[in-house]
């Protein structure tokens, strides 16, 4: 009965989302405050219904109810309890339900946050979110119902895809989706502002903490995904420019631009129409990502079920949401005028360049992701775009961006003169260059042309970001949370640039075939292959190799890479052995059995790769610190008002 209850709850949630969208958007337009007052209860009701649906599906997973098609396809009675729960988002239908549930969580949070704002504006924000939710619920119920029954029930399930049986991946989708979906809030604020014609700075102030929160989650989600790929896919790569990765990376790039342009709009009242466009774009790219991943238009390693019906539905939804928002934009944006100007060299100008570069970066990723599709549509044959395109084009925009950060944080608002800061900037640049050269030529002795340049920029970003805060601390002046947050995020960025440069310049990778007892040298390390023996786990069997690592003749460690074949799905996974030494990750993975005791083995030494992910988390932490700033407290004080009183309705007029 529970799956039916879950399905019923989904249908009720659909109706409530419809009401939320209808009352939220039409109420303020027609000036009916009773309609406006009905929006918040609809939000709460929808949340309860979606929570019920989630609980029903989770319970069915835990109790191994293989009469539910989705569970029969994605779980197994031998699967550990933890993965039986996370199997919920192991495939298309459950992922969608999770997406909608997370949207509902955001909406509830927004409904609390907006309760101190003008009621009609709040209703519009929630109304737009209701329309998004309605579209996705309709999509789920019509094309991707997770509660579809299987008759007769399967005796056992087909098991969760083995590569998804990993703790990092188990938590990766919820965090990633929280980021993805969070941009819906910025989108809703932008649409509400355009619908109301209330295009002052106020909406930007209100939107900032939400956008920063979504961005922080997205940063963590992408980093976790990359970390998971490195540890689980087993071949030592950490970023593949795969369409699904790009789908989450494009909103991140535009979201980063949005955070910065919101700051300008909030503080200086500039870039108003641009900020609106970015808010629409960030979420549009999230939706487009969903389309690309879910419709099967692009084939990727992440591909789920390819169903053209789903594609058509999502496309229609895209046309309504993005097309609607952009039409609104084309209508409202011309009414905007910026009162203030700014000089070249002012902070505004640097943030403008930041925005331009980030949007260009997003556009190049977009072009690369869409190129196979466009080439196919024009009958130009199958085209595959990979790292040889993405790496250089991405660097082309990221290096200038990195160079601007150092100056940007030191620049003044409005005025272009850097004044006495010029000396400091030059000094830090020289220090950074010296440090970078010591690192590049001292420790690693070789490198590419851009290696010292990029390393210098990475260090420069860290130094310039820290100069002002350290100065203020020394003079015992207070630091606002947003400044601390910004500093932390920029230090994270500097560390990111530095570690990425090191990884890309100094990774050593050798694919060798070794007989038992043979050894090979990679960098300063010697690897000796001591053969393989069979291994067995709860739901797999396989082989485990033994590889002894020596450094300068001294035994350093022993690595045990494995290959697993899972019983139910018969998928083979490569379980690489990874260990960190002197900041480098040593990775050893078993390839193919070449017969006669010989194996192909991949050996990889990646310096500082752990810092790439660490840097992403530091950036996210910076975002979290910034959004706790006092300037957003209006929203925070309102959080103590209970939702159920319908604060939004009482404040009408």
């Amino acid at each position: 009965m529970l799956p039916e209850l879950g399905q019923f709850a989904l249908i009720l949630a659909l109706l409530l989302a419809g009401l939320q969208g209808f009352f939220g958007i039409l109420g303020p337009i027609l000036g009916r405050d009773r309609w406006v007052a009905a929006v918040t209860p609809a939000v709460a009701g929808q949340f309860v219904m979606l929570g019920t649906a989630m609980a029903c599906l989770i319970y069915s997973f835990i109790s191994n109810d293989f009469s539910v098609l989705y569970i029969a396809e994605n779980s197994n009675s031998a699967l550990p309890l933890f993965y039986r729960v996370t199997a919920l988002w192991g495939a298309h239908e459950g992922s969608l339900l999770l997406w909608i549930f997370i949207l509902s969580c955001w909406t509830v949070a927004v409904s609390i946050g907006v309760s101190r704002m003008p009621a009609r504006f709040a209703a519009r924000v929630l109304g737009v979110l209701g329309v998004v939710s309605f579209g996705f619920l309709l999509f789920t119920l019509l094309t991707s119902n997770p509660f579809t029954r299987l008759d007769p029930p399967a005796p056992d399930g087909r098991d969760l895809n083995p590569v998804l049986q990993d703790p990092a991946l188990a938590i990766h989708p919820p965090i990633l989706y929280t980021g993805y979906v969070g941009f819906a809030v910025a989108f809703a604020f932008a649409c509400a502002a355009m619908l109301e014609g209330r295009l002052d700075q106020q909406w930007a102030r209100w939107t900032r903490p939400w956008t920063t929160a979504a961005w922080a989650f997205l940063s963590c989600g992408i980093a976790l995904g990359s970390w998971w790929a490195y540890y689980t896919l087993g071949w030592g790569g950490y970023w593949f420019w795969d369409p699904v990765e790009n789908a989450s990376f494009m909103p991140w790039l535009v979201g980063t631009a949005l955070i910065h342009s919101l700051a300008v709009t909030d503080k200086r009242g500039l870039f108003k129409s641009w900020t609106l466009l970015l808010a629409v774009l960030a979420f549009s790219l999230s939706l487009l990502g969903t389309f690309l991943v879910r419709s099967g238009v692009l084939v990727s390693v992440h591909s789920f079920a390819a169903d053209p019906r789903r594609g058509i539905f999502i496309l229609a939804f895209l046309v309504i949401m993005i097309g609607g928002a952009l039409t609104l934009y084309a209508w409202r944006a011309p009414q905007l005028k910026s009162q203030a100007g700014f000089e070249f060299g002012s902070r505004e100008s640097f943030l403008l360049f930041n925005n331009i570069l980030l949007v260009i970066a997003a556009a190049t990723v977009f072009a690369g992701t869409m190129a196979p599709l466009i080439s196919d549509a024009l009958h130009l044959g199958t085209l595959s775009v990979g790292a040889p395109y993405f790496n250089p084009t991405f660097m082309l925009t990221m290096l200038p961006l990195a160079a601007l950060v150092g100056m940007g944080v030191q620049a003044n608002w409005k005025r272009g003169r850097l004044g006495d800061k010029q000396r400091m900037l030059l000094l830090t640049l020289v220090v950074a260059a010296i440090l970078a050269c010591i690192t590049v030529f001292g420790i690693y002795s070789h490198g590419k042309i851009l290696t010292p340049v990029a390393a210098t920029l990475g260090i420069w970003i860290i130094l310039t970001s820290l100069v002002d805060p350290i100065d203020r601390i020394r003079r015992k002046l207070s630091l606002s949370r947003s400044v601390v947050g910004m500093t932390v995020a920029h230090v994270g960025l500097g560390l990111f640039v530095l570690s990425l440069t090191t990884v890309e310049s100094f990774t050593l990778e050798h694919d060798v075939s070794l007989a038992q007892g043979a050894s090979t040298n990679v960098g300063a390390y010697e690897f000796r292959f001591d053969g393989v023996k069979p291994v067995e786990g709860a739901n797999y069997q396989g082989v485990g190799g033994t590889i002894r690592v020596f450094r300068h003749g001294e035994p350093l460690t022993v690595l045990y890479p494995e290959k697993h074949e899972y019983y139910v799905q018969h998928t083979t996974t490569t379980d690489a052995a990874i260990e960190m030494h002197y900041g480098s990750n040593i990775l050893v993975a078993l390839g193919e059995d070449l017969g006669a005791g010989k194996w192909s083995i991949r050996i990889q030494v990646r310096p500082l790769v752990n810092f790439v992910w660490l840097a992403a988390f530091i950036m996210a932490v910076g975002g979290v610190i910034a959004l706790s700033d006092r300037r957003y407290r209006i929203a925070k004080a309102a959080a103590e008002v209970p939702v159920v009183t319908g604060a939004a309705g009482e404040q009408a007029r």
Partner: protein, 180 residues
């Protein structure tokens, strides 16, 4: 001209591309199998109807056959069952079934109730064989030629229309006369 309408125009172009992408995606689904144009996997599996016999790929060499992966637990398979029975009646090409991850009793009961469209039924109890065929989910149906090469793969429930358009059209003329 309203420069703020440019994003809308770009988006409209994008929609066109995406729509063409969707229109193309069904035929993409069929080229996905890496087996196409390659030899079908070799197999020797127990016969469902007679456990003492084996169904061997080598015995099938020299004639075209349809290889259908099914299971009693698979409800799409029920949907295509009538089509399979019809195909059997036309007797154009033998249908080799592979009962995938099933129990003997369930499979026999299912065939007794719905009728048996297969000339031979191989049993893949633990799902090992299905991996070699790259089966993602039942039902999946392959067309294999007389040299043992996979000519076509269809994912999902067969319909008379699919049978006519995708399978019959690929078969050489007079295939029906070949005797086993």
């Amino acid at each position: 001209m309203n420069r703020f309408a440019i994003p809308l125009g770009v988006f409209a172009l994008l929609v066109v591309v995406l729509a063409i992408g969707i229109a193309h995606s069904p035929d993409k689904g069929t080229i996905i199998s890496p087996l196409l144009g390659k030899p079908a996997p070799e197999f020797a599996l127990p016969n469902l109807l007679d456990a003492s016999q084996t169904v061997k790929s080598s015995d099938l060499r020299g004639r075209w056959y349809v290889f259908n992966v099914w299971g009693t637990w698979c409800y799409e398979c029920r949907a295509e069952h009538n089509t399979l029975l019809e195909m059997r009646q036309q007797n154009v090409v033998p249908i080799i079934g592979m009962d995938w991850r099933d129990t003997q009793a369930d499979a026999l009961g299912y065939l007794k109730q719905l009728g048996n469209p297969y000339e031979l039924i191989a049993v893949d109890r633990d799902g090992r064989e299905a991996v070699d065929w790259g089966v993602y989910g039942a039902p999946e149906t392959f067309l294999v030629d007389d040299k043992g090469i996979v000519v076509y793969k269809y994912v999902g429930a067969l319909t008379p229309e699919v049978w006519e358009k995708q399978f019959l059209s690929r078969l050489p003329p007079r295939q029906g006369q070949t005797k086993s």
